[in-house]
Amino acid sequence: MVSYIKSNKMKNKCIHKDLIFYLDNELSVEKRTAVEKHLEECADCRSFLAFLQERLQIIEKEKNPEVSPFFYTRLSARLDEKTERQTQSQWVRLAQPAFFSLVLIAGIYGGLKLGSNASSPKVNQQTTSSVQMLNDFATEPIESFLLGEL
């Protein structure tokens, strides 16, 4: 009785929502029979079934493509490249800190050297100027300088 009522309802109403499961054979025997009966009478559902079937068949057509014959050759080349890059980066990882340490040491040494060179003439200069001033006082006393101004 229930199935009779259900199939009677199916006659009047479109069953679009069941069609994908009908195509995939996932309906119960009872429901499948009812769908088939409805399809005999409903042109719209038949048309949508054909539409759906056509679209879903695309998956069948495009799956399992032919893989490029050079797939492994390309992969192997990429693997070699990657290994080489890894070895290079290992070297870079070791060489970089060593290089920067050397630059730093050279900078400190250079700075010290320059500093020591720059300080000695200054001291000499200061000494000579003070000596000169002393000598000036000795040669020309302040009293005679002031008298000379007058």
């Binding site: 679009h16 929502k17 069609l19 994908i20 499961f21 995939d24 949508f48 539409f51 759906l52 056509e54 679209r55 879903l56 695309i58 998956i59 057509k61 495009e62 799956k63 399992n64 493509p65 893989v67 490029s68 797939f71 492994y72 390309r74 992969l75 192997s76 990429r78 693997l79 990657k82």
Partner: protein
């Protein structure tokens, strides 16, 4: 050469074992990626990335799952990442087009299709419609659907790959098909392709 020997060889850096693995599984990996990215060249590039990752991380393989399960997991993850990055790129491109005044050509084509009842529908347009519908599925639905349709895997194996229960896989595939059917019905009613 069995799976354990193959993995042991790869863990020791043996190229011959790696080549055997690649030749055995390359079609499976390319097909899985193709189901998600829908472009053969991209699928092959992604498959190469999958095998490179296998070679690099072989020492982490504990052997409690099959090699194919491991490959399926990496292939689906990488493909989904690829699709996400592409979406992001397209999003920024569309913003750029908005500011530069350019129109998105694909949307223009699909809008015009409904106005041409006697149009000559090519296979390319049909597959484009199906791909767009699959791409709109939530990620988990998409993985389950792709593994089931493209790889014809049984629900139990899909459950192992996705690390979920069998009932969840059944539900995911059921909802994916329902969603896909709704999208296609919508398109059928609008007579888009």
């Amino acid at each position: 050469m069995d799976e354990a020997q193959l993995i042991k060889g790869i863990q020791q850096g043996d190229r011959k074992s790696f080549q055997t693995l690649v030749e055995t599984y390359q079609l499976m990996v390319v097909n899985t990626c193709l189901g998600i990215v829908h472009n053969k060249a991209d699928a092959e590039d992604l498959a190469q990335d999958v095998f490179l990752e296998i070679f690099r991380t072989a020492e982490n393989f504990r052997g409690d799952a099959k090699i194919s399960t491991w490959l399926y997991r990496i292939a689906t993850n990488r493909s989904l990442n690829f699709v996400r990055n592409n979406k992001r790129k397209r999003f920024f491109q569309s913003i750029e087009e908005t500011f530069t005044g350019g129109r998105n050509r694909t949307s223009e084509i699909s809008e015009n299709r409904g106005d041409q009842p006697d149009r000559n529908i090519t296979d390319e347009q049909r597959s484009d419609l199906l791909h767009r519908a699959i791409d709109r599925l939530p990620e988990k639905h998409r993985i389950a659907f792709t593994l089931n349709k493209y790889e014809e895997l049984p629900y139990q194996q899909i459950a192992e790959i996705m690390e979920i229960s069998l009932a969840s896989v059944e539900s995911l595939i059921h909802r994916a098909k329902k969603n896909l059917q709704e999208q296609l019905l919508d398109c059928y009613k609008k007579k888009c392709v």
